[in-house]
Symmetry: D2
Subunit: 445 residues, 4 copies
């Protein structure tokens, strides 16, 4: 769910459940400080030079993420609700608008890496100024439903960009022959993956999606509009794998000629494989004399055959499933399972591992449905029955990205804790690989 016209977008309509006590300004203020300071923490170990990289159109500079998330609060909160607000620089509206046509024109997305000015220092000053004004606004008007709602949306928006800061940075670092490590990442211990087992489901009519009843003070009671409305779905009996496909299993797929067998691939996937520069291995994998290595945010390391394979495109995920005689789950199958099977100690950004870890441990049922890595489903991203687009700039594009993308579920090791839930829908184009994306198999019963 990137910020852009070519790779998804934030789901900008906010839906919050209001509890009986109403909106609590101090809770909101606390959430604001927590989220905003996390963006600073994520980038405070970077060199100034690292802030400006855009090694491909989809991967925006960290500096841009810091400024754009700030622009969001300035544009949708301060300008309409804080009469005394004075913009630091009138051009920021143009420079840091991502794709909101109702707000105005945008600096070309593919050239964000060409801007050395404003500098990092200036962008941080921009953040500070907006933060000060926002705190003042929340103290004064935080119990306004509109202000609270937009603030919570802005915070969820920023959490999405926090994940992008990490994945975009990984892409930039991973292209540099020096393979620099990201200082906040640490390598977790290796552990054996569990044997592949399956959890069965009898099928029937179920409900999925999020209900929206009220708007409240708890920023965690938030869902994006694309998760709504809650609606019935019909499921046939199926089984879902208890863990994702591992790197060791992927090596077997490669050894069996998986990347050179057209019968395993979707037609568009095979064409993608023939395009110039296409890899025949997961993104960030490199073959050295000593075997296969992969770049992680903690630096290069030998492939761990027990860890889930990650940075897999939809085309690769689909081909693997065909090779093994299974299929990808639908998003409804995934969600029904996720509602039943909690993920114990999920691997989120807050763990600072910043790499998917092997699924293991006691107990039964699907592991790591939440956290660790996004899981491709076979479901094209589209509107739920009864979905209603919202009005205005914030809801301008509620359905704008509902074409040509596939739904992913579950969040990843780069997702802030609490940001995702079973009903959360992420979406990317089938060739995209730079997110933490993996494969969980399903099959008919």
């Amino acid at each position: 769910m990137s910020e852009s016209g070519t790779s998804g977008g934030i789901n900008s309509e906010v839906y919050m459940q209001q509890d009986s006590e109403g909106i609590d300004c101090s809770t909101l203020l606390g959430a604001f400080d927590t989220v905003r300071s996390r963006s600073r923490w994520l980038t405070d170990v970077l060199e100034i030079e690292d802030y400006g990289l855009q090694p491909m159109p989809d991967a925006s500079p960290a500096k841009w993420h810091l400024a754009h998330t700030t622009w969001f609060f300035e544009t949708f909160l301060l300008k309409p609700f804080a009469p005394s607000w004075r913009p630091l620089n009138e051009r920021y509206e143009y420079l840091f608008n991502s794709y909101y046509n109702a707000v105005g024109a945008q600096f070309p997305r593919t050239r964000r890496g060409d801007l050395s000015r404003p500098t990092v220092r200036e962008v941080l000053a921009y953040r500070d100024a907006v933060d000060d004004a926002m705190r003042e606004l929340l103290l004064r008007s935080g119990n306004s439903v509109d202000v609270a709602q937009r603030t919570v949306l802005g915070l969820n928006h920023e959490e999405q960009h926090q994940e992008l800061i990490l994945t975009d940075l990984k892409y930039a670092f991973g292209q540099n022959p020096l393979l620099p490590a990201y200082a906040h990442a640490h390598v977790g211990p290796r552990r054996a993956a569990q044997t592949l087992s399956w959890t069965e489901h009898p099928g029937d009519v179920f409900e999925i999606g999020a209900s929206v009843h009220s708007i409240g003070s708890n920023p965690r009671c938030f869902v994006f509009d694309n998760e709504t409305p809650r609606h019935r779905v019909l499921l046939e009996p199926f089984a879902l794998a208890d863990r994702c496909v591992t790197s060791g299993e992927w090596l077997a797929f490669m050894a069996d000629g998986g990347y050179s067998s057209p019968e395993l691939w979707l037609s568009d996937g095979w064409a993608w494989l023939q395009s110039p520069g296409a890899l025949r291995a997961p993104l960030y994998w490199h073959r050295n004399d000593g075997g296969w290595f992969e770049y992680t945010l903690a630096g290069e390391r030998e492939i761990d055959p027990d860890a889930p394979v990650t940075h897999i495109s939809f085309y690769e995920a689909d081909a693997y499933a065909r090779w093994v005689g299974a299929r990808l789950p639908t998003e409804a199958e995934w969600e029904v399972m996720a509602e039943r099977h909690a993920t114990p100690s999920p691997n989120y950004l807050d763990e600072r591992c910043l790499h998917p870890r092997s699924s293991a441990g006691p107990g039964t049922g699907p592991r790591d449905l939440l956290g660790n890595q996004w899981e491709w489903t076979s479901s094209p991203y589209g509107a739920y029955p009864g979905f209603r687009p919202a009005a205005g700039a914030l809801g301008e594009y509620n359905g704008k990205f509902m074409c040509n993308q596939l739904v992913l579920r579950g969040g990843s090791c780069a997702t802030p804790q609490g940001h995702v839930r079973p009903s959360y829908r992420n979406f990317f184009y089938p060739p995209n690989q730079w997110q933490f994306t993996g494969v969980r198999l399903a099959r008919d019963l």
Copy 2:
């Protein structure tokens, strides 16, 4: 449902219902002659020069269609079942294979128009030789389930290419400043379109898709594998428009700035509109001093505001629906309606009108669901629950095209009569315009 890796593919797994009497060779032979001679009839008014045109990668030369459909019978029937068959030219296997990797390598699809040899005369001789051998095979082995099944598949495959012969030719002629007419096309009389009315549906659980129980002698009891299995769907209450959007309504959309309002467009659709050479009107429309004209297979004519607008991309269809406050139907909604509402005197290829005509006449309910033009649905093309890919080259790619395309329903004025049915699923990429494709609206109740 074109023949290619970039625009869909034939759905090559055959499912036929066998009646109690078994397979009747003479019926099969009659169907064979009917279909094969129609291809000849379609092209017999062409100049030799017309047979070789490939004005864009998706639009193959008529000569190639004539040869490829013949190659299908040679490859899947004669080579395995007719021991005495001797190929006319060993290179034809390479030249006329479309995308069957299990059969072997293929001449590059984008360069089919670069082949002056074999000549038309040689391709027709190829057809004659294969036809003779096929008739002999059918007389001898037509009651073999395998032979009958593959023959019926080959005939349905050829019917798909008959539609492509016409639409590809239209594209080629439509790019020529001389705007030549296609001699078999005749202009139908104009008639007023009916007022836009809606037919409501209460929703509930229904079955859609085709049942496959048996294989029989009736070539009309055929469905493609992608129509199966019959399965339950949940529908919410909805209404479907009784006719498609007209050219007059489209002119209003254009006059209201429809092509320059980003809020109406999917993000990918808006990007498509900004690409070099993008039109701001339906394909084949031209603005002269006297107003808007369109190229039809019968030649250029003034826009008929009562006729359905045609040659519309999915992006355009979707934008129009948003502009008017409605939406496109899902394929399940469409099919449930089509099972209830027969199209009286549908406009198929056999009518030789070769252009969608205005929907009118007595009676109520949706008109022209079958024939006239393909109707975009909002449903991404994918596998039905329980869909099973077949084995071997014929079934090599049962699911190969189930990504990035949208389902269209109903057949068109270029579809041979009897080729389509309510469960028939066509599919194209969202920007495709060169088929007879239009817009029927739906809305929630």
Copy 3:
């Protein structure tokens, strides 16, 4: 010297020497019939399908060449000088204009192969109608200097297109896996190439280029404006090879890693070699199990090591010269030598060999400077000192192509006899290979 904006152009300013007797209408009429009928003869062995091919933007369809050369006479002779002329089709002006902006807009050059209409029959009728009107005009006004001058230019223009008909056709046939032969081509006997010897030249100040004094009735007393004015050049002592590089020598270059040694290549040439689809052998060469073969207009044949290597780009020619420690000649060096050394029995189109033959035979000095194949020089194509562009559409672009191209000299086996002379300047872009182009070495003394 192709007909187009991307690959050179006709040199449309006519310079003719007038002898004392003035203009002789019957000579002009005879030349007109000779040249015009040769175009028909060149194409009369083609299948109708062959006339329409445009396998790459530079290679126009034979039908287009037949029409464009006719358009030239219609536009520059009949329209201004034949008051009773009535165009057969007003759109032909648009369809068959190559690049004369002063005449009007042009149908896009890259899409000439997309036009099935007008048909071959219609184009031949167009030729007949223009020929009749031209003959009438020449009988009536052939002694008009203006008419005679434009007619002679039109005939030289058509001779250029006759060469292009053959080379464009060769490209089209050479891309077809069936490798059809061109019926007018015949294979000449093989003969051993002479040992490479050199002819020395002391250098000094010389004159090159064509003098223009008068305009006369002899169509052979014609030069293009880019050959003028005659002017002095300074030459340092040099030696010129007595024959072109042979295919056997080229095989040695390939065996020595010539195509994989960056130090041999110009920077732009090396980049060209790395581009997708770049060959590592001359155009039309194929490696089979039995060794190297090449497609000739007479069909595929084994490489003849004694024949000159042909279809070589400038980049390849330059790399070969560097590999062997020599260099390419300048156009001045070439012309000074060609003025001294006649080519006995040159291999022109009229020989119908249509492939360069090995240089051999008695006598000394450079062989085959004229005919056989065009020879790359190291001279960028530009204006001679004192060059004067002409006025009007015919001279609109006298200097238009004088950038980014290299001069070639001597004519080829596809050049009509009498069309070239020592001062004749052809020009192509450095990567072009589809003309009969080879390498003659030079070195400093």
Copy 4:
């Protein structure tokens, strides 16, 4: 004369004249410190963020220039001549090699802007380490001909990159909507341009180019190999304009439809004008409500009609000359004039004006032939007669760029004083605009 495979290259063979006293180490050391410290001075006013920009493939990051010029000394001096040298990082050889295939592989040129590491601080440390070792080497072995020769080459190489640092930076800043100024640039006073006058030349045989006799201690007695050998040229009588075309004259060209008149343009130039994003004004010009403005390194300012128009492509220069009925000079004409007419107080980098200023002042004859801006000639860049490529990596590509580029003469306001001379040959592709390039007219007499 950029550093790259797509836009020229350093002319890496060094030719120095040795005076009788031999090589003087202290002079060499002084030159080394002067040049090396100028690179630091040029960049010391930049923000860290500014060092990494590569807004187009031709415009490398300042950080890369600082590192690559250092790599040159490390590779060609320290590695072969300083036994105790230990590289700071083995990957720098790969990262900072521009195009020397004999040295090894190179990091892709188009992705230099994607490298945040090494940081600016690390690159400056790299410079310091190499500088220390170089000073030690020069003290110890500076009287070695080989060391002196390579050092002088390295310094001239670095001076070329100093100009590129400024022009690449200007391109990056000029694309940023904030249009930041470069702190070292100052705006010079405006002054009226002199009336256009011409200096005539009778033509004859002359010598141009540089003589190379000896190698010495004076780093200023240096020429690049492409300036040699000195050789005779034939000139016809001609006249050269006393000043370059002004911005005011360019506005008249624009007002007269210069950019929309195909008859003024070379065929390739017209095609370039039709390409997406092509400007119809000089680079850096913007039309505001108040008229035309241009971005200069000192910031945006209103067009000065008296200043020379700059940032002009060859295609534009050639079209302008045709419009005005003149032509561009050949490089021989230019050089013969430049040897006769000294430029009083030329405008070099050391002036810190960093923009061409209007030519005026007392005296007669051509002004500002040296300094101010590069002047396009009509001469394709090629080898002088008798040019000899050198051996080894330093001379690997002596002729590598002698194709498809045009010669420019005279140096610019961004060229270090003393770097250029009348025989100096710069070269760029015809569409290139990002150097300080202008138009001086010539005409035949």
